[in-house]
Symmetry: C2
């Protein structure tokens, strides 16, 4: 998921100045209010080397009253610390009421550096995740506000920054051999970071990804996030004081929104000639058909989930995918609106019912992600329900993965113009007219809401064991080949 | 913890009849109401072989409308089921709105039989616990009421029942070689059951232990629990309908209370002569002193926690424990009321600060358990706070254990008469007068409340990695030797 995030975001000079000035004033005020309310605050900075943690922490504290906060830079454990549970040194650093503690790196070292350096066994890693989640839950339920930032830059950007630091005599010492090693290991770290964010992204201590290429943009997003979260927490505390039972009080919509986007960066101009398409298709279908028997023999279950814009090409891709598969070994499960019996159960129940047995492939044409798209946008479920669905869905997919399932999720992406073209084509073609309804046109009007929901969905549910693959769909040939290629590659990897 | 539970509870014939009749009528009514409210209900029965699961399920459904429930007997997975994630067959068996599903054994097989038979690796076991908790959480947050019973009988009682079944031709077939194997493995199973209950005892799906020696008592406790939990859930649903924001609505105190007790069965007549005491003391202190160096050398941290009635003998026991230890290697941490700085932090913060480093012993004279005793009883924290403290404390102790810490918790137990004798003795002895205050006499008046809190505390926080040891304290000699012996045994086990 981290690879898909659009890292090109920046602010214009003048816009930045005004925005930052306003946010500075707001954060300064909110810091005082949080102190008066006795709210303990922990702000954690994790992210790539050279992503600017130090600079951005300095920028964040600039407007603040220095008597109210303390910055901890977390290095390797000292001897005293190494002799205790790894969270000990963080328990002892939890803020008192009304204090704010900022962490430049944190307890997440345990599941990052320690893990990458092989100092943590598989069992210790699982323990560490459980311990981190309960640590944050215990503090949070006790009233602590926990804000977690992940500063994200690309491999190329990181390399560029290291080189720039090395070019100057003054800063050369800051780039170590280890830094270069990390740059080489970038792709491995992506998996480790994604794992970390999936396992520890909770209602009470969510992660915020900061696109850190542009310093101004990153500063503004950090200030805006801190501002929004402080404001919401202060409101919660004040409401609780006034009306003890009003637990559900939700903060206003944030005034400043810096959305993480994965769709903005997608290159929809990708295409394939008919000749190449036919050749590739034939080659991949043959490969897949052979693998299918091998999957069956080795009892590996496979889940392929298809989502995408209306007319995004789901049906066509599924057709090409299954063309040469043995029908006894796969099933296509179309997902319509839930019927009465389905409505009487948990929304995941009907999907659990259809999960494949070992050795079989289940292909879902639309999926459980309806919860965080159509149900969210149409108000078919409450805000609390779709908000907790990300976690529930991640859990379900993890349970499947624990049982050995290969899971791939496709987002069939086209732009609005292409959709219009396809809608019209369908209306004009008598054989395709059944594919298009008034509802499709109505959904189309909600394109921006869907865009927002899809961005959030992909960021929050892309996991190492169940990744989202965004398929550039303006060219049907390109899209179908990409789907097949992705499946073939993933299965090859598993069958190795 | 299971070993300490008082299993001798029974009901008198006449009392039982009246009570069961009343509970039957109530459960019948509540079942109808729950159906009308559209509440899905899952009732799980786990427990020892021959603890009466079948009989007790039959007894529970007796008053119910048979159109409203369904009983599942969970055997070994069939082939279809074995080819899917282990929870799949339970997801497909979740009740629709207004339905009640009862389970004779359940998804807990995975962490019980499968575990004991070596079919589950350590990693799979941890996954299984996580998956079970999220399964129950997802259903519960969606509105399902989950009631979990653990039917408890002693090893002796189980043996007796097997023998009785074998004695009759008609029932002989019901006792298998495997049953006898389980009876032999009783003590191992205790650890496995305790682990299960600790890891899966949640606010949303708590375990209820049923003392199942006496059938009448067990039936009544089951009916009363189902009745209380249905009533609370119905009230919650109705309240939510009437006033959408009233999340905090707590059920009334249950009208029928069947408390699990660990203190009732304690034999306080145990004692030791002075000669034996002196000999034992000398022997154990010498042993402990040697082990202390070995602990240090092998960097094992040790936490010894002392709780108990006022004048229960904590001080005396700690004194004998430390008499020949190297003072550089241990620390006694007395716990008074929290000061202002401590009050400004999470209640566990001050204890985390004092956790021992590897190779050291920390002895706590009163502990974090104050949260669920004095703070609960005196109202120094809210009900929600002390109720969630069990989980938080279990988590903290698990984190310590994950880091290799040996943890033992002592409850220094005396009866009320003995306490009075000791209080008076202290008042009459000028050198001991400082030990007794007005507060001690006031606390004494709350003996029944404390008794209830202590019973609940020991049941809910006794874990394989941090067990409670109840010390029969009327005889000081006996108590001190038991404390030393327990520590020596536990350390010997670890140093093996």
């Amino acid at each position: 998921m981290l690879e898909c995030i659009d890292l090109s975001k920046k602010l214009k000079k003048k816009e930045a100045k005004e925005l930052l000035d306003r946010l500075d004033a707001k954060v300064a005020r909110l810091q005082r209010e949080a102190k008066a309310c006795g709210i303990p605050v922990m702000i954690i900075f994790e992210g790539w080397g050279a992503s600017g943690k130090g600079t951005l922490i300095n920028r964040l504290i600039q407007p603040m009253d220095p008597r109210g906060f303390k910055v901890y830079t977390i290095q390797k454990e000292n001897e005293e610390e190494a002799m205790r549970p790894f969270l000990w040194r963080f328990w002892t650093k939890t803020p008192a009421k009304g204090r704010m503690h900022l962490f430049d790196r944190s307890w997440y070292n345990r599941v990052l550096k320690d893990r990458m350096d092989g100092r943590v066994s598989k069992e210790q890693l699982m323990n560490a995740y459980n311990e981190i989640v309960s640590f944050e839950e215990q503090l949070s339920v006790d009233g602590t506000l926990i804000i977690k930032f992940f500063l994200h830059i690309s491999k190329k950007e990181q390399k560029k920054r290291f080189e720039k630091l090395e070019a100057s005599e003054e800063t050369r010492w800051r780039v170590t051999a280890e830094d270069w090693k990390h740059n080489k290991q970038y792709d491995e770290y992506v998996g480790v970071y994604e794992d970390m964010m999936e396992k520890t992204d909770t209602d009470f201590a969510p992660w915020t990804i900061i696109e850190a290429t542009d310093r101004e943009y990153a500063s503004a997003k950090i200030l805006a996030t801190v501002s929004d979260m402080l404001e919401a927490k202060i409101k919660e505390v004040n409401t609780a004081k006034a009306i003890p039972a009003a637990e559900e009080a939700k903060p206003d919509e944030p005034e400043t929104t810096f959305r993480t986007s994965v769709l903005d960066g997608v290159d929809l101009s990708k295409s394939l000639s008919k000749d190449v398409y036919k050749k590739k298709l034939d080659e991949l279908q043959t490969k897949l058909s052979k693998m299918h028997s091998e999957l069956y023999r080795r009892r590996i279950p496979v889940v392929l989930a298809f989502e995408g814009w209306d007319a995004g090409g789901k049906g066509g891709a599924i057709k090409r995918l299954t063309a040469r598969l043995d029908p006894r070994g796969y099933e296509v499960i179309p997902t319509a609106s839930p019927n009465d019996i389905e409505k009487a159960h948990h929304y995941l129940w009907r999907f659990w019912n259809n999960m494949p047995k070992a050795g079989h492939i289940a292909i879902f044409d639309r999926t459980w992600y309806g919860r965080v798209m159509v149900e969210r946008i149409e108000g078919f479920c409450t805000k609390a329900e779709w908000q907790r669905a990300y976690k529930e869905i991640n859990q379900m997919e993890e349970h499947l993965a624990n049982a050995g399932t290969v899971i791939i999720k496709f987002w069939m992406h086209i732009d609005k113009d292409e959709q219009e073209r396809r809608f019209k084509e369908r209306m004009e073609n008598p054989e395709k007219q059944w594919k298009i309804t008034d509802e499709d046109w109505r959904n189309r009007e909600k394109w921006p809401q869907y865009e927002e929901a899809v961005n959030e969905m992909i960021v929050r549910t892309s996991t190492p064991h169940a990744p989202w693959v965004i398929v550039e769909g303006n060219s049907k040939y390109y899209a179908r080949v990409k789907v097949l290629q992705t499946v073939v590659d993933a299965l090859e990897e598993r069958l190795k």
